[in-house]
């Protein structure tokens, strides 16, 4: 059995990272020139890592699935990025950011990793400002902050409602600088389809050129996957259309273990589903909960009238509204963490108080804030979000409360990595949403940007050297090695098989069906019966897929249908693993809510005695049951408590 060694440095929590950096191996400048690194993905983590490696003097090859690194889905993050600068003088500190993140993750994240994240967060803000990221500022010229869920301080830096865009463009410009200087080579419109392993170490990848259809080989001394999360397994999510789990899944099939696949974040404030033809869901930033109040009608009759269009929400008096988050969680109110807010919305809608034509929506109301601050202030803070809402829903949120409902947004689970962000395949690293490392069972708002950039700018540039330190005498790899032949042959086989089925159903029809299974049985509320059903249903769907899918087009040209089919074949396996992981975890924690495990008032009931660990899955072959390993979580420095956002 593979031993999981998390490689957490010895010593007090606050000194671990410093101590690691002091004792790690380094690579001298002359040797860096001899070493190659492949970075797959150009979102915050990938672009930041590739730029930093290039600056340090390594030879870097970057694979980007889109036409430009600037398209990566990090660009869509709206609200902000956390750091413990304590500029507002409201009592913030590295320890508090660490504590909030661990607690927000419902005590299912590794202490040492989260502390390091909090520790380097301040440097991220400094770095981004130096790059010219136009963060929001006060009239004094200094940086402005706002609040996000799960925190009692204002520690979130932002650039209007486009923080992800501005941070990504910062990383993209740093990457472009290195491409211009010749330290980084960019390969765009390439999709990674396999990791190549030589003598037990990751030494390259196979990618499909999405324009010519050619399978290409890339070799290096180390490979970094920064390929994002797998939320699109649900078909409908807030992820971009091209976001997929294939790079991570294919690494998993090659031996990289997968941690906590069941931990999925369902974001409470998204625009509700409106029709079968819908292709994706749109997020409304969590920052809206700073000023918006969430409510449903107090009486079922009113909710019913609203659903039928006989009553407008603005006609309901204060006494007839149930501000259920403020009622249930007085201390945090509308700013409870995402998992808590999502479940509360589901609870109200399931109980018959939902609004909108489908009854699957709640109100997010700005009337009070507009009265208190004036329309111009709300417009300055959230103008672009209000505009986006109006375009999609065709309703004016300045006059009518917004309608929102939870939607799949982020995956906390991912490739298992140690403290160095190295997977169980030596030489294969995973960063950003692709790894499992920092968010436990629930991610706090404004922490994904923080983690992506922390991994890319300030963690990997150190830890990868510790790996490459003893690789300096290893000569450059040739892509003619038999391991490359073998990997390429396998992929060619998969493509030929997919295109040869010539069945009757479109790729999307299968994906939609998988999405329904996942949302209904591996979604916001899960139970043993449903999860067992999900495992069987996915297995059957997978068989059906391989019998009856129709992949049109040619393999040696741009072919979106083939791209989607290749991704879906992986989702059809990953979905099953998610259900298995959810089934085995007999507790409720963070985004993982098992209906059997709740308190009398419907709060999540964690089981620390039996499940205070990371569930780490090992691939055992096609249609074989996977094996689960355990990484126990030892909390040496904080006391593990029941999360309480009530007082």
């Amino acid at each position: 059995m593979t031993q999981l060694n998390s490689k957490i440095p010895q010593g007090p929590l606050a000194e671990k990272w410093t101590s690691y950096k002091t004792h790690q191996k380094l690579v001298n400048p002359a040797n860096k020139r001899k070493l190659d690194i492949i970075v797959v993905g150009t979102g915050l983590a990938g672009a930041a890592a590739a730029a930093s490696f290039g600056e340090m003097g390594f030879n870097v090859k970057v694979l980007c699935i889109s036409d430009s690194p600037r398209r990566a889905h990090s660009i869509a993050a709206q609200g902000g990025i956390n750091a413990a600068k304590n500029y507002p003088n409201d009592g913030d500190s590295v320890y508090r950011l660490f504590y909030d993140t661990i607690k927000g993750g419902d005590y299912r994240a590794r202490e040492a990793n989260v502390y390091r994240l909090a520790e380097v967060a301040n440097s991220i803000i400094d770095q981004c400002v130096a790059q010219g990221v136009p963060f929001a500022r006060e009239y004094s010229g200094y940086l402005d902050n706002r609040s996000f869920g799960g925190a009692q301080v204002s520690r979130t830096f932002y650039a209007r409602g486009q923080t992800g865009q501005q941070l990504l463009l910062g990383a993209y410009s740093a990457l472009s600088k290195e491409i211009g200087r010749g330290h980084v080579e960019l390969f765009h419109r390439r999709e990674m389809l396999d990791v190549v392993i030589i003598d037990g170490r990751a030494r390259g990848v196979i990618a499909r050129n999405l324009v010519t259809g050619e399978l290409e080989r890339y070799a290096a001394h180390a490979v970094v996957l920064a390929t994002g999360g797998y939320g699109n397994v649900y078909f409908l999510s807030t992820n971009a259309m091209n976001s997929n789990g294939s790079a991570a899944w294919r690494a998993h099939r090659k031996g990289a273990m997968f941690a906590n696949p069941a931990f999925v974040q369902i974001h409470p404030t998204c625009i509700p589903v409106h029709g079968d033809y819908q292709s994706k869901l749109t997020l409304m930033s969590e920052s809206l909960r700073n000023d918006g109040r969430i409510w449903v009608p107090k009486k079922k009759e009113d909710a019913e009238k609203i659903r039928k269009g006989q009553l407008k929400p603005t006609q309901l008096g204060e006494e007839d509204r149930d501000y259920y988050l403020e009622r249930r969680y007085p201390a945090f109110g509308n700013l409870v963490p995402r998992d808590v807010a999502s479940r509360a919305a589901k609870e109200r809608c399931d109980a018959g108080f939902g609004v909108g034509t489908t009854g699957l929506a709640v109100y997010l109301d700005f009337a009070d804030a507009i009265k208190r601050l004036g329309k111009h202030v709300i417009e300055a803070r959230y103008g672009n979000l209000f505009q986006m809402y109006e375009k999609i829903v065709d309703d004016n949120p300045y006059e009518m409360p917004m309608m929102i409902y939870p939607a799949v947004h982020y995956t906390m689970g991912g490739l298992w990595v140690d403290y160095e962000l190295q997977t169980t395949i030596p030489g294969l690293f995973a960063a950003g949403e692709a790894n499992f490392s920092d968010h436990g069972a629930n991610r706090l708002g404004a922490s994904a940007l923080m983690q992506g950039l922390a991994d890319g700018y300030f963690v990997l540039p150190y830890t990868i050297q510790n790996y490459l330190g003893d690789q300096i005498s290893v000569a450059r790899f040739k892509t003619t090695a038999p391991e490359f032949d073998e990997a390429e042959k396998n992929i060619r086989g998969q493509i030929d098989r997919l295109m040869g089925i010539n069945g009757k159903r479109s790729v999307d029809s299968f994906h939609r069906q998988l999405g329904h299974i996942m949302w209904d049985m591996v979604g916001m509320g899960r139970n043993a019966e449903g999860l067992k059903k999900a495992v069987t249903a996915i297995q059957e769907l997978r068989k059906e897929f391989w019998k009856d899918v129709k992949v049109t087009g040619k393999k040696d040209n741009v072919n979106n249908e083939l791209e989607k089919a290749l991704r879906l074949m992986d989702f059809l396996e990953l979905g099953e693993l998610m259900a298995r992981d959810a089934l085995h975890r007999e507790e409720s924690c963070g985004g993982h809510f098992r209906e059997e495990h709740q308190t009398q008032d419907g709060e999540a009931k964690r089981n620390d005695d039996d499940f205070k660990y990371v569930g780490v899955w090992e691939y055992k072959g096609e249609n074989q049951e996977p094996t689960m390993h355990v990484e126990p979580l030892n909390y040496e420095f904080i006391e593990v408590k029941t999360r309480n956002y009530k007082e």
Binding site: S52, D126, Q131, G132, S140, H188, S506, T552, V558
Partner: protein
């Protein structure tokens, strides 16, 4: 709703393109433009269940108006009829039932067609690589609040930085000029103290690269501003021109040392 679609089909960069006509029925008014194309593609797959068929290729990704991937020229306008909107945020309710809609790719020498409605916008990346950055490496920077910025300047920089790099400005311009795109990046950095240090070299390098890649000149028609989905202002072009001429006059010769802009 019912539509007749005239869509540009082109097998690859070298092939001859042509318009194909498609009919679509039962489209909800709340459906987005790209979802309408999804429906058409799924119909193509299902209707031609035994014939060899190829779906219509178009670039798209985030579908929330921020990644800049979508790039359709609809009824003669980049991103279609709605002001300040990307195609992915355009909904069918903006059209009339029974409309004929013509869909083409971006057309510009610097943006060659790859297939159908997909074009190659790599030229934009090359312009950024020529100088669209501050030459700062990771680490070793001062505390964020050690660089105060006037709020007005930060806001103007943000207005310029909101560019999504979709290329609608180039597609809208009769000269296929990239001035709005380039000036947005030049302005963002010219307005901020962090960017001022390399401002002269940056504007020269980016403009030179833009010319080299085959983008046209600006003749002040303002079509770019009118069609920009993010409402980037042509004031940025004025600012870039000022930066350009000023730097031309005052730029000291810098030895090329492998570092710095350009």
């Amino acid at each position: 709703m019912k539509f007749t679609l005239k869509i540009w089909r082109q097998e690859n960069a070298k092939a001859q393109g042509r318009f194909e006509t498609y009919q679509l029925d039962n489209i909800s008014a709340d459906c987005s433009f790209l979802e309408m194309l999804d429906i058409l593609n799924e119909k193509l797959v299902n209707d031609n269940i035994s014939l060899p068929v190829d779906t219509i290729t178009f670039d798209h990704d985030c579908r929330e108006g921020i990644c800049g991937m979508c790039s359709l020229y609809i009824n003669g306008r980049p991103h279609g009829p709605e002001q300040g909107t990307t195609v992915c945020q355009l909904h069918m309710r903006r059209f009339n039932d029974g409309d004929t809609i013509t869909i083409e790719p971006w057309r510009a020498k610097a943006f060659p067609v790859i297939k159908d409605l997909m074009v190659d916008r790599n030229a934009f990346d090359k312009i950024i690589q020529a100088g669209g950055f501050v030459s700062v490496s990771t680490g070793g920077v001062p505390d964020a609040n050690a660089i105060p910025v006037r709020k007005e300047d930060a806001d103007l920089a943000m207005d310029a930085a909101a560019c999504i790099g979709c290329g609608a400005c180039v597609a809208a311009c009769k000269n296929a000029s990239a001035m709005l795109f380039v000036s947005a990046k030049v302005s963002q950095f010219a307005l901020l103290p962090q960017g001022k240090i390399e401002a002269k070299e940056r504007v020269q390098a980016m403009v030179a690269k833009m010319d080299e890649l085959g983008f046209g000149n600006c003749t002040n028609t303002y079509a770019c501003e009118a069609e920009c989905p993010k409402n980037i202002s042509v004031e940025n072009i004025a600012r870039m021109n000022r930066e350009f001429f000023f730097s031309k006059l005052t730029l000291a010769k810098r030895e090329s040392n492998g570092g710095g802009v350009g």
